[in-house]
Symmetry: C2
Subunit: 291 residues, 2 copies
């Protein structure tokens, strides 16, 4: 079965689960033992935060999370180095590079005010926003991650208000890239190569990054569809240029400057993918209609 990213339809933020078997059956976190569900190739789709590592921090809306490996199950101390190549760690790094959402579950063992008093609680979808190697308290290398809760989700009602991170709060967002399950599929099909310039942006250790671009915009009032024939796999530069009206797509699927309509490149398509002419036209009309 393909790994599932995102929130299962039958699951709600804050939902409680009796045990790991219950989490497994609900497709919230499939492994029965491992804290991280994922591999380097797929990315990681879920983690369980259960207080196994002394260096972990739980701030409610963001976590500092230690990867797996080198931990003695009895003493809970590090007895060896962790590696960014261990499957779960490598999976979380891939999730960061490819912007995959991670389901976060809190276990009962935590001294965290955000954790359930018993059982397991689904806390929502988080993004991996940072990863780095560090020397842990026991003197061994550990792989650490920062995960931030994605916006536009139900709030989680906990015993304490989530912490704010002032450094994050003082800044403002300039551009949010939305991604859907379908666009992740498409990006995998293109192996993260841009349909305009064929580049794939290098991330950590050979991973690559691209973005799924909706040509007719999602949301009101444009009401573009989250369908394959409205999607392109693009590098961030060409995605930006498309979204900001610097380029348009002509009927023959060439790419043109939006002022001169002079084509400067062609869209490359792989088998089983095309862009609906009507979606390209809708986008073109947004930027070329003048009095």
């Amino acid at each position: 079965m393909a790994r599932f990213f995102g929130q299962p339809d039958s699951v709600r933020v804050g939902q409680l689960f009796i045990d790991r078997r219950d989490l497994h059956n609900s497709s919230v976190h499939r492994p029965l033992q491992a804290g991280i569900s994922g591999t380097r190739a797929d990315g990681a789709d879920s983690i369980v935060v259960s207080g196994g590592y002394v260096d972990d921090e739980d701030h409610g809306d963001y976590l500092i999370y230690t990867g797996h490996g080198g931990n003695d199950p009895n003493s809970r101390r590090q007895i060896a180095d962790q590696s960014p190549d261990a499957p779960g760690n490598a999976g979380l790094i891939t999730s960061m590079v490819q912007g995959l959402p991670v389901r976060v579950v809190r276990g009962p063992l935590r001294e965290s005010p955000y954790a359930p008093t018993s059982g397991y609680q689904y806390a929502g979808l988080f993004a991996v926003t940072s990863h780095w190697m560090d020397i842990g308290r026991d003197g061994f290398l550990v792989v650490r991650f920062r995960l931030d809760r994605l916006p536009e989700q139900e709030p989680l009602h906990t015993r304490q208000q989530p912490d704010e991170d002032p450094a994050f709060a003082t800044s403002t967002v300039t551009r949010r890239i939305r991604d859907t399950a379908l666009s992740r599929e498409l990006k995998a099909m293109y192996d993260q190569h841009c349909q305009v310039c064929d580049s794939a942006i290098p991330g950590y250790d050979g991973r690559t990054y691209s973005e799924g671009a909706h040509v007719r915009p999602l949301g009101r009032p444009h009401l573009g569809a989250d369908k394959r024939d409205n999607l392109l796999c693009l590098c961030p530069n060409h995605h930006t240029q498309l979204d900001l009206g610097g380029m348009v797509i002509l009927e023959d699927m060439s790419i043109a400057d939006s002022r001169t309509l002079a084509p400067f490149a062609d869209l490359t398509f792989r088998t089983d993918h095309n862009l609906a002419v009507g979606n390209a036209e809708y986008h073109r009309q947004l930027w070329t209609k003048r009095s």
Copy 2:
């Protein structure tokens, strides 16, 4: 006085103002008459939503907003085409392309459940997420905008819960670019040109786009500073590559592949700007430490 983007320190979300003079004095919205404060060169820093246009929609956390021009003040009907080159309209388009935050104020005239019953209310910072030309109800061209409220702000307590836009809610965020006042300054200094590849991403009608990149990441646990010597002006592709660990910065300010440490480009600096060697080193350590 330079145009100020963002929320003035003395102002809070939900704050009420008696009249336009009061808004002016508090630096929330400077013009006493115009609904949009802005120009093409600067961008728009604030708008007042006051129900002057029949095509406007207020959904709480997002607005469909009509630009200015061609409106008869008595009948409130369109009597001529609007132009994307009128200063306020051009300013909002620049704010979209450059990701500038827009202060939104609601006036008393609205039939909106989010508007104050009298006076003016500051609703927070919004991003211009879309702009397009349309034929309005009176048969003339109008310039329309979608503005979305930025996350990580105090909620606005209104008579009605904000609407959700299901098309937006079903998707997840893959990458959020944070921008600060300082990074906007730096981007202007580089005229939106990338310090690695010298490109400036084309947006609508000759505008260009770039991103401010913090080299030592902001926020816990990295605690990078929002200071000029921790900032670069980059295109989205190189910003992504920097953030995702695909490239690092060497001591001589050359850019290298993070696996091989082979330099492939040099950072270009303009007068009065440099990157602190310690910030480049902190970033390099995040990606090159291995067991």
